[in-house]
């Protein structure tokens, strides 16, 4: 075979290669479609909430109360209508610490006399007029916009969700002690069941498909006169002395999700 023949063969092979390969590339590029096109953002997602009940118990504590903080035994029940919306009730059923004074109340108590005078209430009279939280019930709508996974220390992987909630808030305000009406400064404890508004944010960290640790932060807003004393200067204690107050609660609950079996998305 001559050199010319070799060159010819190479040329023909190159030409054939180009004609076979290049049109295939261009056509494939036109037809190319990402395998992720039209697929959901998260595939084979474990549906941890959709059509499931949750129930659990835990503790809730108030933060920054004027006179008495409360550590409460908490119960939470809920049903998730879809993966991102649900209804629930979070209830502080029992106040474990009815005598837990705030730092301010401790200082105030130290500054007040044991026996009242014409301008200053006594320690016991001041305490008897101050209310504290007995029970709290918060029915609410939960919206779950954030769901995902996290790793802690690169070892522990957990599913989690973050939700916001809103609904009415019902609180039972109670008193302790009796007011001596002979002392100065009229006082009437502001007690009973009061209705307000509750907004909150919370998260579930799923240990497995049916058990989760739940943390909640609520702002329960209701009208209150925590000191049970005159605010408006009318020298009488009336409902006009009650003011809108913000009451923060932090909760930690241990939740079980039912049914225990979960669906997996496509």
């Amino acid at each position: 075979m001559t050199k010319k023949a070799h060159a010819m063969k190479r040329g023909i092979a190159l030409l054939v290669g180009c004609l076979v390969g290049i049109p295939a590339v261009s056509q494939a590029a036109q037809e190319r479609k990402s395998p992720l096109a039209d697929s959901p953002a998260i595939r084979r997602r474990v549906e941890l909430r959709d059509k499931r009940f949750e129930l659990g118990v835990g503790m809730a504590a108030t933060v920054g109360q004027d006179f008495y903080n409360a550590l409460m035994l908490n119960l939470r029940l809920g049903f998730h209508i879809t993966d991102w919306i649900g209804i629930s009730v979070s209830a502080g059923l029992y106040n474990l610490t009815p005598n837990w004074r705030s730092a301010f109340n401790n200082q105030l108590n130290d500054a007040l006399p044991a026996t009242g005078d014409t301008k200053t209430p006594s320690q016991s009279n001041a305490a008897a007029a101050e209310n504290r939280i007995g029970q709290i019930i918060m029915p609410q709508l939960d919206v779950v916009p954030f769901t995902g996974k996290f790793s802690a220390l690169g070892k522990l992987f957990m599913n989690y969700d973050v939700y916001v909630s809103a609904g009415p808030g019902i609180v039972n305000l109670v008193k302790k002690g009796t007011i001596d009406s002979n002392e100065c400064c009229k006082a009437t404890p502001y007690t009973g069941w009061k209705t307000g508004v509750n907004v909150g944010v919370g998260m579930h960290a799923f240990v497995n498909n049916y058990f989760a640790i739940n943390i909640e932060l609520h702002n329960l807003m209701y009208s209150n006169n925590a000191a049970g004393r005159d605010v408006t200067g009318s020298s009488a204690v009336t409902s006009a002395d009650a003011q809108w107050t913000y009451n923060w609660l932090v909760g930690l609950n241990f939740m079980f999700f039912l049914p225990a079996q979960v669906k997996v998305s496509r």
Partner: protein, 302 residues
Amino acid sequence: MKRLAFGLLLVLANPGLVAAAEASAAGAGETADEKTSEAEAPAAPEAAEANKDELPDLSEEVKEAAAQKEEAVSEATAARRSWEDIVVVPRKGFLKRHRFELAPFSAISFNDTMIRHYSFGGDLTFYLTDVFSIAAEGQYFIKERSERESLVGFQFNRATTLNRFNYSASLVFGYVPGYGKFGLFNKYIVHWDVTVNAGIGVIWTETIPVIPDAKSFPAFSNLDIMPHLGISTRMFVTDWLALSIGLRDYMFEDKFEKRDRPPGQTAAQAKANGVSEFTQNLMVFVSAGLYLPTSFQYKTPR
């Protein structure tokens, strides 16, 4: 010679195979067959006729190449059929190592029922690694007395001894123990991490005299050593921007005006007779972190 021509053919056809693998196998096969048939036509021009004694017949090689191509297409398609080929966590969404973060922030205190402080300041952070950081923090405080504070005198015939915070500066060490991502409405993926930090600094505070008479009851100021602890979470918006929310607990021994301070005391005398108390200032922060350099490069392929 045959090997050379065949090899060349495969090399040229190969990109087509890869691309075609993502199209349908049948369609791609048909397309390749058509192209191959078309390729045969120009391979037999008059020049080839004239030199037919010297030219070998390449039709067999072309057919063989087409068959192998078809086989490769079907293999590639089979391999791509599985979703398992796509890794769940390809790479961390954001790298911080050897980058600076300038984060202006605003904060509010929430644990003192008598006085509230708003603060404005900034953190300048340098990331030694992707998880360890060192930062300088400075902030300026604005005070606001609460309604409860204003009622103490009226309801209990007592006055409160309060201090206001003016400025603070500190050195902060940070560690990122966890990171993750979440789906926003199951549609968008957002990366985030959580940072714990500890630091030490100083805070300038000033008394608010019970009797607001600057001549008889001048205020005095304190410079306190202030260790602090904190936790925050950060969401990465772009390669150079992150939004953060956090909680910090500043602890210091502060000196307050004595309850029965006599009039006429100088500020120094009042300070000498002041009452020291351990103070905790819990603050919630929001900040926007700007990263420099504004981009980063991965060092691993996936």
